[in-house]
Chain length 243, copies 2
Amino acid sequence: MSQQVPALPDLPEATVARLPEYLRALHHLAESGNDTVSSEALAGAAGVNSAKLRKDLSHLGSYGTRGVGYDVALLIDQIEYVLGLTQRRAVALVGVGNLGHALAGYAGFGSRGFRIAALFDADPGRVGEHINGLVVRHIDELPEIAEAESIAIGVIATPATAAQSVADRLVAAGVTSILNFAPCVLSVPDGVDVRKVDLAIELQILSFHEHRKASLIALPAAGGLTALPGGLAATGTEEAVGS
Amino acid sequence: MSQQVPALPDLPEATVARLPEYLRALHHLAESGNDTVSSEALAGAAGVNSAKLRKDLSHLGSYGTRGVGYDVALLIDQIEYVLGLTQRRAVALVGVGNLGHALAGYAGFGSRGFRIAALFDADPGRVGEHINGLVVRHIDELPEIAEAESIAIGVIATPATAAQSVADRLVAAGVTSILNFAPCVLSVPDGVDVRKVDLAIELQILSFHEHRKASLIALPAAGGLTALPGGLAATGTEEAVGS
DNA sequence: GCGTGTGAACTTCTTCACAGCC
DNA sequence: GGCTGTGAAGAAGTTCACACGC
């Protein structure tokens, strides 16, 4: 038998990743007093092109009005619904070092659909500390608190060496989504989602582009491919940037 | 100018984004005393599948040895070269609030190819503060210091309201790559690269998947779609409806 | 034998361009 | 006239599967 209508349209991942950006832009528009917005304008505010935006929204089945645009308030409701932001989700933050402290104090979580429900650390010296109105608890208390607070999302802000073990404990405590700030790969069971944020990786990607820009500027003549380590030289197929 | 920089292979963006992950895994392997590694093993350590890894590395023109694998040390050199990590790049960090403090203290920058060369803030109350051996300077001093330190990469950790103006000033000071932690879209001239990290967006993407998982488990009978905000119910692609 | 390197098939994402509706 | 919604074309990325060199 064919399945009943799914409660959620199953959106392309690329679309899901952009919806939060649209949402932010829409809130901004709403605060500025706009009732409707065209795909062109919203796309501009979200930093994408308008065809992409329209296609993304069409996946929600969202109804704009031809000749007019989208109803801002309605679109906000729809996107918040799809993203599951109609409830304020409880988040556990593990690791209150440098970065963890900053995250615990980050107002953006609170204003955008989340509530940091508990802070954990393994270091007894940190347990008991108050941050932003919350007490840091020992990681051993995770199971009971996760249960009590219905925590389904965990944020890992520990050193890389501890991250896998923390992930295991989060999963054991019923967490099914993890945001990982530790620079390492986590392995988790099927059904658990992991997203990763690695600051050094972001910089390294930028570094590549810096390197690339520098090499394009410095090199119009395709002669001198000598100085590089093994084998790279053969690959350059640039038709150069004219100048 | 006279530095003879060879043309870089122009890698697919998706490949560029994974190279740092491979690099981290390789360093880890090297520390554990491995001289060579197979695509299977390295892929596992980096959390990707081996075909993808081999294709990525093939874009570098990198030579593994058939029947053996890749030389760990050589591969590290090649990736670091391509990413432009053979020099330690100077980075300017603007905004030393909550998050900025944490970033300024983050050891991962130092150990992975970067040097925080200067800290800036617009708040006179913060100027002069010492963080991790650096003095916070007023943002007005950016041009001279960027010049003196050859800063080409800027990190924005200010509130969203200040981010665009900071970006403009960074660009004016010669910065050509920006890592933006502020939740807003930046507009910059062509030739300047921007990458964005938005913590709330990451959580919202996870929230979508939570919502989706929940809806699949408690899969409602087709009637139960009445409660959602305007119009979503009607959108399920018609053919899938088995009613 | 083993494991890399790679064409070819396939999937996903983006962009185009225009029909359809206000 | 203006703007959305969408098929169709195109580009980018992933996976397959196997030839080739060690």
